[in-house]
Amino acid sequence: MRTNEPGDDKFAGLVCRLNLSGLTVTKIILWLLAITIVSFMIGVGVLAVSGDLPGAHGKTASPFVEGGSPGNTSSFTLVGATSGAVSITMGAGELTVRGGAPEDTLMEATVFYRNAEWQPVITESVNGSQKIITMTDKGHTAKEWVAVHSPNSWAVQLSNRVPLDLTVHTGAGDTSLDLSHLSLASLVVENGAGDTEITLGSAPVPGPVEISLGIGDLTLRVPKASNTRIIVHSGVGDVSRSGLVEQGGFFTTPGYDPNRPVTEIRVKQGVGSTSLEAV
């Protein structure tokens, strides 16, 4: 035998207060059930009409984008150029840049994507003796930084043989730059949101080295033997150092000598930790 339950029907009471146009809990449930069934049926119908029905043509049973391309590789030769300028702009995703491109090749880029339209646009031109390459995510917009998980992944290999001006802009995502074997002439790195890891080589970089981050952690590694000075402007977050000497508001490698060619690195960190390491 059921008794009157004061605490029992709080939910029902709430629904009753929302009793618009005679809506009852039963009606609400039936409406939700109907909307659920109809929505799924229309969704499956759209997939069937567009040929994207899961299970068809070897597709997995999921309405979500899955997996990625096996990797689309493009190579760009030096063609007699004695220096290079590479600019990479990525909306969202994972970017890996390192040296070791094949001989006579300025850049070899492998792009992993989940949708054909997400392939970047890569242009190449020659300015005197300099070969210029731009690799741009054509869907890149300022809004993309809100995308948490990007399906894109780019792996770029650059030439170790020629001096290189490298510019990297990423909206959101993790960026890993192993530039330890490159002959960098200058370096500009901007990352809106995501972790950034940069490893530089011992050869001095004559041009500016500027690293600017919005939100995310930065790990910057320089060789102990290099003649490097690092200037850090950090917003919110810790700055830690390992193997570096702090002097006059700068961080320098142990054997820093301002009279020798210097790699001067300027770091602007928004929100996130900064880890500076001399290895």
Binding site: I35, F40, G43, V44, F64, V65, G139, T141, A147
Partner: protein, 196 residues
């Protein structure tokens, strides 16, 4: 072993305090006093009567469990059913298996359904927004195989989440009622009385 009525009622009172109201305790004690009075009139000793009634601690445990189950029945809340279950557990070690395990299984099941419902209800609208952005040509938001289908799937996922939450509420009510009946039956079996 208890020898007299005073000791019996003192222990009974002590064990019931804090759970039952003063008037209820007085009623219970007066019932037992009456039992002692009638027993003595028929020539039985305090010791015999104490032996026949059993341990006042056990009686208090049963009365407390019964009281808390009734309280949980009359005023439905998580706190009350939790207290009722704990009190029933105190009636015997085997109730760890027969009461605690089913109670925990039900609790986990209801919690999982609720969490899944909330996740669906939250991520459905997000999926819907992503499908619109994907339709607007923003590849970074492309989580759906087909954005138009994704919009409908997102609506379906949202409403399914709401259905799960509502269903979970009614399921919880159903199991609450079943649980109360089961606890009553359990107490009656242990105390050897008719189901309350």
């Amino acid at each position: 072993m208890l020898q007299n009525e005073q000791e019996f009622t003192r222990i009974l009172k002590e064990r019931l305090e804090g759970t039952l109201a003063r008037e209820e305790i007085d009623d219970i004690v007066s019932d037992y006093s009456e039992h002692f009075r009638m027993g003595k009139e028929s020539g039985r000793t305090d010791e015999e009567l104490c032996k026949s009634l059993g341990s006042p601690e056990d009686i208090a445990r049963e009365l407390k469990a019964l009281h808390l189950v009734k309280k949980a029945e009359n005023s439905k809340s998580c706190r009350n059913i939790f207290h009722a279950v704990i009190a029933t557990l105190g009636l015997g070690l085997f109730n760890l298996v027969f009461v605690l395990v089913p109670f925990l299984i039900l609790l986990v099941m209801l919690f999982v359904i609720f969490i899944v419902g909330v996740l669906f209800a939250v991520f459905g609208p997000i999926g819907f927004v992503f499908s619109l952005l994907q339709l607007a040509g923003q590849p970074a938001f492309a989580i759906w195989l087909n954005p138009a289908a994704g919009a409908f799937f997102a609506i379906g996922i949202t409403t399914m989440g709401l259905l799960l939450i509502i269903g979970d509420y009614y399921l919880a009510r159903f199991f609450y009622r079943i649980g109360i009946r089961y606890l009553k039956w359990n107490i009656s079996v242990i105390s050897g009385t008719e189901e309350i």
